[in-house]
């Protein structure tokens, strides 16, 4: 096959599928944007947890262990932390409300987790 024929084939292919390609590129950028946004948010959350002393230190690797935080419609569930308790959250109420932009209605300690109910 000649080189000019190959170029011709590729250009035909692009021309016939140009809308799909354009859509793909847009979709890629949207995904990238979401990924960057989530990474930034996660970093902010980690900074918040670290700055307020809610992290623990792995005694083997000496790295910080972050608690897992699940934010749903009307609750925020915090798991995997011995430092975050209902009392601790109520003491630092203003910080939590300001960071998450929420109103805390009530905080309850459950088995292995702490649940913040949003107002």
């Amino acid at each position: 096959m000649k080189k000019s024929n190959l170029i011709q084939m590729v250009s035909d292919l692009i021309q016939s599928h140009q809308y799909f390609l354009f859509g793909g590129v847009v979709f890629f950028f949207v995904l990238l944007g979401v990924y960057i946004y989530l990474t930034i948010q996660n970093n902010k959350l980690k900074q918040f947890l670290f700055a307020n002393g809610y992290t623990e230190v792995d005694f083997k690797t000496n790295e910080a262990i972050y608690p897992s935080i699940h934010w749903k419609k009307s609750t925020i569930t915090i798991k995997g932390s011995t430092k975050i308790t209902s009392k601790q959250i109520l003491d630092d109420r203003e910080k939590w409300e300001k960071f998450f932009n929420i109103q805390i209605l009530s905080v309850e300690d459950e088995r292995q987790k702490t649940v913040i109910f949003l107002g």
Partner: protein
């Protein structure tokens, strides 16, 4: 007897156990859902064949069911006097009954006398004639102190949170249901915690505090019933018919 109050934030039913705690105090600002909650509680008392007294100037406005005895303290002074006389006599006779039995609660003696009293707009009783006010307050205080073992339940409703606005000892309330308060001190005066002020409560949401336990948020919603209970009630109704 267990009276359904609402659901907590974990969606579990919350009940008021009248056997151990006979004095319920509901305080909330106007439009907080206080009268709705009170009428829901009263309906449950009526379903359990309680003799119900409503002492309020708004009794005929807020509570539409015909069964309760409605007393307007300012317009029906004679009726209020009769109520004081009737309940005092009843209490002394019940007290003798318990004293002569081997039990410590009227329910255990086999006598099934059930009385509930609702006091709406607490401040209004302050304007009663002096003698009547004294005897009324004395009776209410007696119910608070001795009504538990005589199975007399007392529900007090108030729009303000000041415990000083009335001579009735609100501080003795065994169960407090509190709406959002306007100041931190108001919450502290009723329940030794500022949760009533710090929690952003919406209308229909209250703080439920039982003496000796941690206060928590409840929402006034229909009772959550198990399917088995619903079917059993339906069957019971059909069998009665």
């Amino acid at each position: 007897m267990k009276i359904y109050i609402g659901r907590n934030l974990k969606n579990e039913n919350v009940y008021w156990d009248t056997f151990n705690r006979n004095f319920l105090y509901i305080a909330s600002l106007s439009g907080g859902g206080k009268s709705y909650l009170a009428s829901e509680i009263l309906n449950q008392f009526l379903d359990q064949n309680y003799k119900l007294y409503i002492i309020s100037d708004k009794a005929r406005v807020d509570y539409k069911r015909p069964e309760p005895i409605k007393i307007s303290p300012h317009e029906e002074i004679e009726k209020l006097k009769d109520f004081i006389h009737e309940v005092s006599e009843l209490m002394s006779s019940l007290k003798t009954e318990v004293e002569n039995s081997e039990f410590t609660h009227i329910n255990n003696t086999g006598k099934s006398l059930k009385i509930a009293i609702l006091l709406d707009e607490l401040w209004s009783t302050n304007n009663l004639p002096k003698e009547l006010k004294t005897s009324f307050n004395d009776l209410i205080e007696l119910i608070i102190r001795q009504g538990r073992y005589l199975n007399i339940c007392l529900i007090c409703l108030s729009q303000t949170f000041k415990t000083t606005e009335t001579a009735i000892p609100i501080k003795h309330a065994s169960v407090v249901v509190l709406g959002r308060t306007d100041t931190k001190e108001a919450s502290l005066s009723v329940m030794d915690s500022d949760i009533g002020y710090s929690s952003p409560l919406k209308p229909g949401q209250f703080i439920y505090w039982q003496r000796g336990l941690k206060p928590f948020v409840i929402t006034v919603r229909p009772e959550k019933k198990s399917l088995f209970k619903v079917l059993w009630n339906l069957l019971k109704q059909k069998l009665i018919r």
